[in-house]
Amino acid sequence: MIGSVLAALAVGGTVIAFAVAWWPAIAAIDPAAQSSFEADQVKRGRALAAIGNCSNCHTMREGKDFAGGVPVPTPFGTVFSSNITPDAETGIGRWSEAAFRRAMHDGVDREGRHLYPTFPYDHFTNVSDEDDRALYAYLMTREPVHAAAPANRLSFPFDQRPLIAGWKLLFLRRETFHPDQSKSAEWNRGAYLVEGLAHCGACHTPRNALGAERASAPFAGGDVENWRAYAINARSPSPVLWDADALFSYLRDGWHPDHGTARGPMAQVVANLSSVGPGDVHAIATYMASVFGSPASDRRRDAEAVLAEVKPMANRASETDTAGASIYAAACANCHESGRALPYGGINLALSTAISSPDPRNLANIVLSGVAPREGERSPIMPGFAGSMNDDQLAALLNYLRARFSTQPAWTGVDLVVADARRTQLAPLQTAAAPRQSPAEPAQRDKP
């Protein structure tokens, strides 16, 4: 009797697991003629793809647009992005619009296989059918590229795609965006984009051990590709408070005089947003300003004090009593105390978020590798110092910068961060702006 109950339970469980894990294939289509898509729709799709930052993962540096193959390091192994050009064999040329929409909404490919959540469908599930249609039209009118992505390199059991069904049961909340009628239309538009296509939380929200965003800590800061994605809520480490105007110009121009420049993986985001109409970027800024929230009055006072101090900043006499101060005086002050406007001048370091961040990772990256100018952009530039500073000297400089330019307590473990930054250093004098051909240390992108 008990045996048959157990057997029935086992069968029932298997059936349920199968029902959750199994999705049917959607019939392959003959690639649609490019002329079958309306120009207006394609154009809207282009802007949406820029907001979605699709090229960051789906286009190799100096590779063909959207041909995939970009290695994304995760704690579970390396996932290679797929080819989303309309190539019939290696791309998504045989995907119907319904298949594309299902991938965005449910994280399942045309053949019915679960997609790894490296593809952020936990956000894309919020994208409207209308926007999916425009994205589909845009992608289907790109140049087809014949390029098969390399096989993922994941350790057992993470290489078993049916497991993703379990992950989805635990963590995938569909359609988490609901308009808030008490807020403005612009705020709601921004919320729709940020929580959906723009998937800001994919980097800026911390993840749990299974690589899912922690719902209890939205926008509290995360790690991505050996960079720190700062908290962009009330816990932001920025010395000066963000508001909608500052966010708008930062997201469109790539810098703001009170906050500095967007580099690391954020450089690609702002490069993409620079091609989007001002309306959507302003909506994103409006919504994010409310996510940053209204800070406590002492925080506001500190921020105003920083601004009051740096605005009329004259060259301070350099203190040469420590190694860090001497390095700063000769290597940094020429630009960072020049008073020249961004992006070509250096920001006053009292305004630097990297120096006020909870850890020195981004600062170490920038000092070692510098910031290379990007062709065709009004972009910042800074030489890297990997060749001239050893780890001790770099640590001395970082500690000095923290002590002098931040009101936060001293960092601990600076030497370890410096050594790790050196080990995973990007090509000298290059930024991490564009996706790299070779995987960085497969350590930090906390997602399977």
Partner: protein, 164 residues
């Protein structure tokens, strides 16, 4: 007093620890190959080699150089006996005003010491931090390829052009 090893010789320098290496080279040691261009590490004219790596001497303070080997263009060759990289630049006439080429040669030298046969793309990427306002880029590329050829001959190893 700080001791700095330049082109194989120790020099006692009486200067503040935050003095840029470029000023020491030009003002104290009379080594004038490295040029002051922008003073901000953005043009490359001041480039020298420190422990095998190309660095901007204008933003490298003296105190970082304790125990390191600095090589300037003067350390590669002489007028009578130019190093391969210098001979190649002369053969290709890879200069117009010439202000940038000392820095260009130093970074090219550092590249060739590390990679004896760089591709065109590798040369272009490596030289990206260097500005030339005269437009001699194509000649500079040819000169670096020629230097690689000279260095790869048995009688002229890359090391022969390094520190003397």
């Amino acid at each position: 007093m700080i001791t700095v090893k330049v082109n194989g010789r120790d020099h006692q320098i009486d200067a503040e620890p935050d003095t840029p290496l470029l000023y020491v080279l030009r003002d104290d040691l009379a080594l004038n190959a490295a040029k002051f261009g922008c003073g901000l590490g953005q043009c490359g004219a001041c480039t020298v080699i420190v422990d095998g790596k190309a660095v901007f001497s204008c933003v490298t303070p003296l105190l970082l150089l304790e125990g390191k080997q600095v090589t300037t263009l003067e350390g590669l060759g002489t007028i009578a006996d130019p190093a391969p990289i210098q001979r190649a630049f002369m053969d290709e006439q890879a200069a117009q005003c010439g202000y940038c080429v000392a820095g260009m040669m130093m970074r090219a030298q550092a590249l060739l010491m590390r990679n004896a046969s760089p591709s065109d793309e590798e040369i272009r990427n490596e030289l990206e931090p260097h500005l030339c306002r005269c437009g001699t880029h194509m000649r500079i590329l040819r000169a670096i390829r020629r230097a690689a050829g000279l260095m790869n001959r048995a009688d002229l190893s890359p090391e022969s052009g390094a520190v003397r």
